[in-house]
């Protein structure tokens, strides 16, 4: 199902919401260092693995689990809208729903790096690896923000050919009154666009 369904428009929004929920459910069960098995309902697609690798300040186990889940929700929503869904598709700008205002503007500018926009004509896209290592900043009892060191890998089917691509780097998140949003990114993507070059030896 994940990466292989629905379209644009309101129907597609419903599907994307379902996909986000599905990834979220996976994330909620994934607050340890152990990778989570792919959901049975997403055959062939990796689940998002979120783990806390560093806490600056002090965070008890419950608060850490809560923060991981909240950040996981944001990341899963982004991954689904930016890379998965039903292909071919065009609605990649929706990926920035959890980005702050100015960052969403920059995200549109960087659409080809931050989403699978360039592969919108693919037949399918599915995730092969979705890892996020979280570093939290805690001031007293307030979880101020986090950096997610992400490594997302995907495989697109384009003209019947498998084409791997990925995104890695950092997503910066802040917590404002228990609402988490992405305020920064520093990422690179392997575009997956093969460049054929002839060489004689």
């Amino acid at each position: 199902m994940m990466g292989r369904m629905a379209r644009t428009g309101s129907g597609a929004r419903g599907v994307l919401a379902s996909l986000a929920l599905l990834v979220c459910l996976t994330v909620a069960a994934c607050t340890t260092d152990q990778p989570t098995e792919p959901s049975p309902s997403t055959p062939g697609s990796a689940a998002l693995r979120v783990r806390t690798v560093h806490v600056a300040g002090s965070l008890d186990a419950d608060a850490q689990a809560e923060a991981e889940a909240a950040v996981g929700d944001v990341l899963s929503g982004y991954v689904v809208r930016a890379f998965l869904g039903d292909y071919p598709r065009e609605d990649f700008v929706g990926a920035f729903e959890s980005f702050t205002g100015n960052l969403a503007r920059d995200g549109v500018r960087d659409l080809d790096v931050l989403t699978a926009n360039r592969l919108g004509s693919a037949e399918t896209v599915h995730a092969t690896r979705l890892d996020a290592d979280l570093s939290f900043l805690v001031d007293g009892s307030d979880t101020v923000g986090a950096t997610a060191a992400v490594r997302f890998e995907f495989e697109a089917t384009v003209d019947g050919e498998e084409q791997p691509f990925g995104l890695r780097g950092r997503l910066m998140l802040m917590n404002d009154d228990d609402t988490w949003s992405v305020y920064g990114y520093d990422v690179k993507t392997d575009s997956g666009e093969a460049v054929q070059a002839g060489v004689t030896s």
Partner: protein
């Protein structure tokens, strides 16, 4: 967006094959290359952001007064150094500008008076004020780790550290010694230039480690403890991340100069060149850059 395109696979291998397989039959080989693109952005403030950085001594004199401008969008940044001995009007009468913070009562009141006083001199209103004392500076520096500083000159610090012209590596204590030393310098402008060199060194250190997991969080936590600021923790965190967008090759620094004179009470002070200060302020306010000749 920084769009960097790299050939990431195959080239070295094929080059090696071409070199080590002499006499191989001439036949076409197909390379499958891919493109890597990068993107970086931090949502802080639009346009040029002005930050007043004050370093105070144990007597609450802010002997380091640096007005920094940066533009995260363009990666440009500049620093305007203000002489601590600038003779200005404060609520209790004429005094050195480095007394503004303490005359304002320190903390929020001191920051506001210092910002207003520097703002009047340079003609811009700082958006944020960051104040640190020796202990706060050391705590933050220790978190960042060793810093490489390109000293504008060779000299011996007040603690006897031999600094060479060009690159030097300092730990936290040495960095503080470098920043605060004045005994063996020609004048206080030389110390101000050293402070700018140190800030640039810390910028490079931040950028060198920003991808280390937890580094920016640890540095920000140290800053939360080591800085006195009206910035909310979330905003300080974002500011720290935003600063890493600055391109060290697009950083310029200038000093507000002035004319030394002795007051009626015998204090040796400086009449700061206000027209120059305001030209520099206008210059940096446009795009966070300064003319290399520092004439505004």
């Amino acid at each position: 967006m920084r769009n960097l395109r790299h050939v990431v696979r195959g080239i070295l291998l094929l080059a090696l094959m071409a070199l080590v397989v002499p006499g191989a039959a001439v036949r076409p080989t197909t390379l499958s290359l891919s493109r890597v693109q990068t993107a970086k952005s931090v949502d802080f403030d639009d346009g040029v952001v002005w930050v007043l950085v004050l370093g105070r001594d144990d007597e609450d004199h802010t002997d380091t007064i640096e007005l920094l401008a940066f533009d995260g969008e363009t990666g440009a940044a500049s620093g305007i150094g203000i002489p601590r001995d600038s003779w200005v009007r404060l609520p209790k009468g004429k005094a050195r500008i480095n007394e503004a913070w303490s005359q304002g009562g320190g903390e929020q009141g001191g920051a506001e008076l210092a910002a207003r006083t520097v703002g009047e001199l340079v003609g811009v209103d700082p958006h944020f004020v960051l104040v640190t004392g020796f202990e706060g500076f050391l705590a933050m520096s220790e978190e960042v780790g060793e810093v490489e500083v390109h000293s504008p000159r060779a000299f011996t610090t007040d603690q006897g550290l031999a600094v060479r012209r060009g690159p030097n590596r300092f730990d936290a204590e040495q960095a503080l010694d470098f920043a605060s030393s004045r005994d063996n310098l020609q004048d206080d402008f030389a110390r101000m230039a050293n402070n700018q060199a140190l800030l640039l060194g810390y910028l490079r250190s931040l950028q060198a480690h920003e991808e280390d997991k937890g580094f920016m969080e640890d540095v920000t936590l140290a800053a939360l403890g080591g800085l006195e600021t009206d910035l909310a923790p979330t905003d300080l965190y974002r500011l720290a991340q935003a600063v890493t967008q600055v391109d060290p090759n697009r950083v310029t620094g200038c000093l507000v100069t002035g004319t030394p004179f002795t007051t009626g009470a015998g204090a040796q002070v400086i009449r700061a060149d206000k027209p120059l200060a305001q030209r520099l302020g206008r210059d940096a306010d446009r795009d966070a850059t300064l003319d290399p000749d520092c004439q505004g």
